[in-house]
């Protein structure tokens, strides 16, 4: 997918004026938050489990090369094949060559953000292989030619009337007078349309929530069951997963599973947690004849050992965006690439470059809700600040902003001058604001005051007030 993050500001402005989107986001921001709260409150050990999950990933990342080697050995021993891919293009080619060798014409897909990252669908279509998304949300946005706006709820930005319109436009073989006014009828129609596709497809592609080094197992976590039909019915199952998905043992996966669904949808467990190891066995009546894993790096190895190392703990639950006021306001598409919200604001600059994605870490109020709900305790605000620093070091932010910061830094490095300047400026500003206590407009601050008032400062500086307070204290203690 083409990186559109440089247009964040325009996209955000449009999103905030988009009534359909605002209606959809209004529902989204209450649902996820209250469901998660309920599930977390019902498990007293939740915070301890977060620390345990974090420790598992930290240990794994320290030994990532060794666990990947162990994982690969077990996949091969169970009859599967492992394809290493350094870049998105390598991964796409690996998928294509498997499809070509099988003479595949139709590919069903379970929900997978990693195949969004490598833009697999567009590529396969160009090469004459038809990809069919089977997750309900993914299916809807595929019909619309859109990309997911949320990592676990791809069609979160849509209302049911929009889905009805799309179904009527595309499913022309069905009677036009049918009732599609309820979500149930939309779901039923998608189920009926997609069912035969699973049986016709030559290849099924899924992502993975975990890869288990101990056993060579890939794990997917879903609610619909589409991932299972996708990987059970076709002759070939391809798992596309990035290298940081590996965990050492089945017990380690279990620990992280306890925080994953609760953080994502507020469920104790998702409906289907499926552990897959290799292709069909001699006495198996079903399952794929071939099992392939594509292990993708695509920039992750370069994050290891840097200030963005901890981002590799992310398990893609979506809790950070579910709790983000900026995401709630603009939706996922404004972020301009695959991963939206706070996790996207950290990951996107790592994967596509801060020169293209610099707006994203700047679009944060640093309220800290994302970090407080992250099941893997990833310091997202700190890492967004790190990106802002890198952006500044490389001179990527606008001249006015750089000048303003330079101006402030000049005074901040000279405390006496700073105090003198503020002791003159503060009463002046306070005086201009008058009794109202805020500004409707202010020279050089139009960017702020166009949308909201600026509170006027107190008539005395913080330092002056502090001095008085301390003086008061010592007088009292002297008495």
């Amino acid at each position: 997918m083409e990186v559109q993050s440089p247009q964040f500001k325009e996209k955000a402005r449009k999103a905030m004026a988009d009534e359909q989107l605002q209606r959809a986001m209004g529902k989204a921001k209450v649902g996820f938050v209250s469901k998660r709260r309920k599930a977390v409150d019902a498990l007293p050990e939740f915070d301890e489990l977060r620390s345990s999950a974090r420790a598992i990933k930290d240990h794994t990342l320290e030994h990532l090369d060794l666990y990947l080697e162990a994982y690969e050995r077990k996949v091969i021993a169970s009859g599967g094949r492992v394809h290493w891919a350094e870049t998105a293009e390598d991964a796409r080619q690996a998928v294509l060559s498997i499809c070509r060798a099988a003479g595949a014409r139709t590919v069903t897909k379970g929900k997978s953000m990693i195949t969004e990252e490598i833009a697999l669908n567009d590529f396969l279509e160009k090469e004459g292989v038809r990809p069919v998304e089977t997750d309900l949300g993914e299916y809807i946005i595929q019909l619309r030619g859109e990309h997911p706006s949320h990592i676990i709820g791809p069609a979160l930005h849509l209302n049911k009337e929009q889905v009805e319109e799309d179904f009527r436009r595309v499913h022309t073989e069905l009677p036009p007078e049918r009732d599609l006014s309820q979500p149930e009828s939309l779901l039923g129609e998608a189920r009926n349309i997609l069912r035969p596709q699973y049986f016709q497809a030559d290849v099924g592609i899924t992502g993975a929530n975990f890869l288990v080094a101990e056993t060579g197992t890939s794990i997917i976590v879903t609610n619909e069951g589409n991932g299972d039909l996708t990987q059970t019915l076709p002759r070939i199952h391809i798992v596309v997963a990035s290298i940081e998905k590996v965990v050492p043992t089945l017990e380690d996966a279990s620990q992280i599973l306890r925080v994953l669904a609760r953080s994502a949808t507020g469920q104790d467990m998702s409906v289907y947690t499926t552990l897959s190891t290799g292709p069909r066995r001699p006495d198996d009546p079903d399952g794929p004849d071939e099992y392939h894993v594509i292990l993708l790096d695509n920039g992750r190895s370069s994050m290891l050992g840097t200030e963005f190392h901890e981002m590799l703990r992310c398990i893609r639950c979506g809790a950070c965006m579910n709790h983000c006021p900026v995401y709630h306001a603009v939706g996922g598409h404004a972020y301009g690439w695959v991963y939206p919200g706070p996790m996207g604001s950290v990951l996107t600059p790592s994967l596509v470059g801060v020169d293209k994605a610099g707006h994203l870490p700047n679009a944060s109020t640093f309220c800290g809700r994302c970090e407080s709900v992250c099941p893997m305790q990833i310091p997202l605000p700190r890492m967004m600040r790190n990106w802002r620093e890198r952006e500044f070091e490389r001179g990527l932010n606008p001249a006015a902003q750089r000048f303003g910061l330079g101006f402030w830094a000049f005074f901040a490095r000279r405390p006496k001058l700073y105090r003198l300047a503020t002791s003159m400026a503060i009463p002046t500003l306070s005086g201009f604001a008058g009794r109202r206590g805020w500004f409707r407009s202010l020279p050089f601050a139009g960017g702020w005051t166009r949308h909201r008032d600026l509170p006027a400062p107190e008539s005395r500086t913080f330092m002056q007030q502090w001095r008085d307070r301390e003086a008061g204290k010592s007088e009292r203690s002297a008495v």
Partner: protein, 224 residues
Amino acid sequence: MSAREAILGKLRSAASVSASDHARREAVEKRLAKPPRGLIPARGQLEGEARIALFCSMAEAVTATVERVGSADDVPKAVTHYLRSRNLAPSVRMGDDKRLKRMDWASQKSLEVKHGRAEPQDEVGVSHALAGIAESGTLALPSGKDNPTTVNFVPDHHVIVVDAKDIAGDLETVISRVRRKYGRGEMPRVLNLITGPSRSGDIEQTMLLGAHGPRALHIIVVDG
């Protein structure tokens, strides 16, 4: 240099170690040989009837229906009753599981029992679980000819039989059981952990049952 070598090389240099780093290898081998059990929540750590009752209530909370029968002999009758109560045709699909085969299905007149993998026209699948998990109301089903994976996903209705004595408190206990059954480091081709019937919240976050997998999950707990 292959992609494999390139990726592993980058990971090693980021961890700033040589490939022969002994301590790191030892740490990995130790963890893989003796997996730490981690933190197990207190919720499922119950004995006997309390554990079974928790399993049932957790499964019902995720909109499965649960019934308890006194012995394995009662299962065919319970299945027939389920079909009738839902107005379903008297036909079920199941694998070769010995526990299911020992049951007297012939006693249910006019009930058709088809064996083998599920086909698109099958309406009801019957499976026997390896284990239940009380903590979350989950059932564990390994793949194979006894309980083919397609039976879990293709039919509209899924009936899962589980022995009360096989209901564990937590997933870790089931993992240990799988390890004993299949061998250390070995797994069945698929292990399905199923918690309630299929659902989707993709349209306006309204949770709806029956997305792509079974619309209904009926659990029969065999006490005897």
